[in-house]
Amino acid sequence: MHLGDVLLQGAAALASLGAVALVVLIVYKVVEGARLSLSTFGLGFVTHVGWDPVHLKFGAGSFLFGTAITSLGALILATPLAIGIALFLTELAPAGIRGPVTALVETLAAIPSVVIGLWGILVLAPLLRDHVDPALHSALGFIPLFGPATYSANVFTAIIVLTIMILPIISSISRELFLGVPSELKEGALGLGTTRWEMVRGVVFPYTRGGVAAAMILGLGRALGEAIAVAMVIGAFTGISWNLFNPGNTLAAMIALNYQGASSGLELSSLIYLALILLVFSILVNLLAQLIVRRVARRQGLAST
């Protein structure tokens, strides 16, 4: 072997081993930091609802609930929008505007989360409180999710903010996937006399299903871990409420807001316990994504996505 080959192999192996070691170390440090809380509360911590630094009773229940409801809500809102954007940019838009619109949508991903959070507090939250929330309540009030709206900082605002943040992720990946559909297939379908929509439904969607699912999961991962923007708009309240117009909190936002100046070692350890739960949650989501991609790829007999 050439010296260069040996060097390349060594460097690459070192880099990948470094990444593995980093993950292991992070998990180890998180578990170690959470040990005090783990031994005090055990697994009951995961479901206990409450965060009381004065009486030293901590639990992740309400934050898990908040994390699940905000990220699922954002995913439900963002997915159809993102797929719409991707379809428009690949199949429907006139060639001249594809470039600029693609660039703009991707710029959305580059906006720092603290800027989106600030905009969320100052512009979005009052707008939603005064116009959107009451309208949703009066139209859909029979569903417990759309209860009376009084607070401007609430779970619904956080869902909208997260939707905006994960939209470019899902749409740009979907766009790449749609572009990757072989044009012979598309032209073949159109040549058989299908409409554009029938072509999209019959060729583009089945061909890219696995990839789009993976894109959704990537978006979900972003939504799960987003701390700052959510912390700024969600209203930081510990408790469980099905009304989206009440304040709430998520795992990531809770950690971001409170890790500085914990009032006891147990509180600090409990915050790290929250981080551990978030870590496990994120790893599970990632594994799920890989599983979906592999299954769909196998079913299609294509290794395309």
């Binding site: 004065v54 507090i121 401007s152 912390a231 700024m232 304040p247 500085q260 100046g261 914990a262 009032s263």
Partner: protein
């Protein structure tokens, strides 16, 4: 290949120029620094931030370039504990935090009040007492036209409007002062919630730091919250007259703060003082019940910046106090200044 070689050469040249430039700027900066001010970095309490910001200009004349980051008391104690800053500032004593800074000296350096602010346009200076305030924050009183509030404000036209309780979402010395007060006026509060820099709030929404709290109250009609008086004034928020134990309704202004400060003028050994809710006595007839000392926390071994830090804090507790009244900070009582001077002597390089 020749193309690649060219690229490599260009990269090398650019890198060399960049390194040279960095070295040049670095040495220029260093020589410049030697002649000009010592940079002192602080972080912490957003409550005391208006006063510290007012100090930045005048201290440049004694050779200190001061910068302050209002990240909240909890953040300030964290930062000084890990030596990320030259000083931390907190409205709650160090003993309220764990982990806390065990190698720090704690110096009370300002005196002010926590205002109870609210958003009801056209109704300035509503009267409030401790038990009613506690019931609002416990979620028992939910509307502005509740009989308890009406009784305190006879003749005022209180609207039928839901109360939105706002509290701090971060670890805060203002929260400590406020819950300290609520615990002293309400047994239910004391047993159910208690006092601390962060507590388990029975109701309401959280605002991040004093600025977030002010913004939340300002943007939510019917909201109630608590911040340093200066934030209330700057943000044009109405604040309440609080009933003290002698039965008088007092605004969080200098007179009320100074009257409350008489409760304790000799700090405990660790430098802490508590002046919340003074007892019923003629001496405290004008006392505002939610007042607090606020502290600067410094590592005893402060290294190269020790001399400048001593100069800064020595200035802050004497001359610096004259910048207070405009911002609703009362000057420190003499015994506290005497104590502080001894504390400052504990700082060394």
């Amino acid at each position: 290949m020749p193309k690649n070689g060219m690229l490599v050469r260009i990269t090398l040249v650019v890198a060399a120029v960049a390194i040279l430039a960095a070295v040049a700027v670095g040495t220029a900066g260093a020589s410049h620094k030697a002649r000009s001010a010592t940079a002192i970095k602080g972080a912490g309490s957003s409550f005391v931030a208006p006063l510290v910001n007012a100090w930045i200009n005048p201290v440049s004349s004694i050779g200190i370039s001061l910068s302050y980051n209002p990240i909240g008391s909890g953040g300030g104690v964290s930062a000084i504990t890990t030596k990320g800053v030259d000083f931390g500032a907190s409205d709650a004593p160090l003993s309220q935090f764990s982990p806390t800074c065990t190698t720090c000296v704690q110096i009370p350096w300002a005196l002010a009040a926590t205002a109870v602010v609210y958003n009801l346009p056209g109704l300035p200076f509503l009267k409030m007492n401790g038990s009613t305030l506690a019931n609002i924050y416990l979620g028992k009183i939910k509307n502005w036209n509740d009989p308890a509030i009406k009784k305190l404000n006879s003749g005022r036209n209180l609207p039928d409007k839901a109360i939105t309780v706002v509290h701090r979402s971060d670890s805060s010395g203002t929260t400590f002062n406020f819950t300290d007060y609520l615990s002293s006026v309400s047994k239910t509060w004391k047993s159910q919630v208690g006092n601390g820099t962060a507590v388990s709030w029975p109701t309401g929404i959280g605002g991040n730091k004093s600025a977030g709290m002010s913004a939340a109250v300002k943007s939510t009609p019917g909201a109630i919250g608590y911040v340093d008086v200066d934030y209330a004034v700057v943000n044009h928020l109405g604040y309440m007259k609080m009933r003290n134990r002698t039965g008088k309704f007092v605004v969080p202004r200098l007179k009320g703060i100074l009257a409350a400060a008489q409760l304790q003028t000799h700090p405990a050994k660790d430098g802490s003082l508590s002046i919340v809710n003074p007892p019923k006595s003629k001496k405290y007839a004008n006392a505002y019940p939610i007042a607090t000392y606020t502290y600067v926390d410094v590592q005893k071994a402060s290294g190269a910046n020790a001399a400048a830090l001593k100069k800064l804090i020595g200035w802050a507790i004497t001359k610096g106090q004259t910048y207070g009244p405009k911002l609703f900070f009362a000057p420190l009582p003499k015994p506290v200044v005497t104590f502080d001077k001894k504390q400052i002597q504990k700082i060394h390089s």
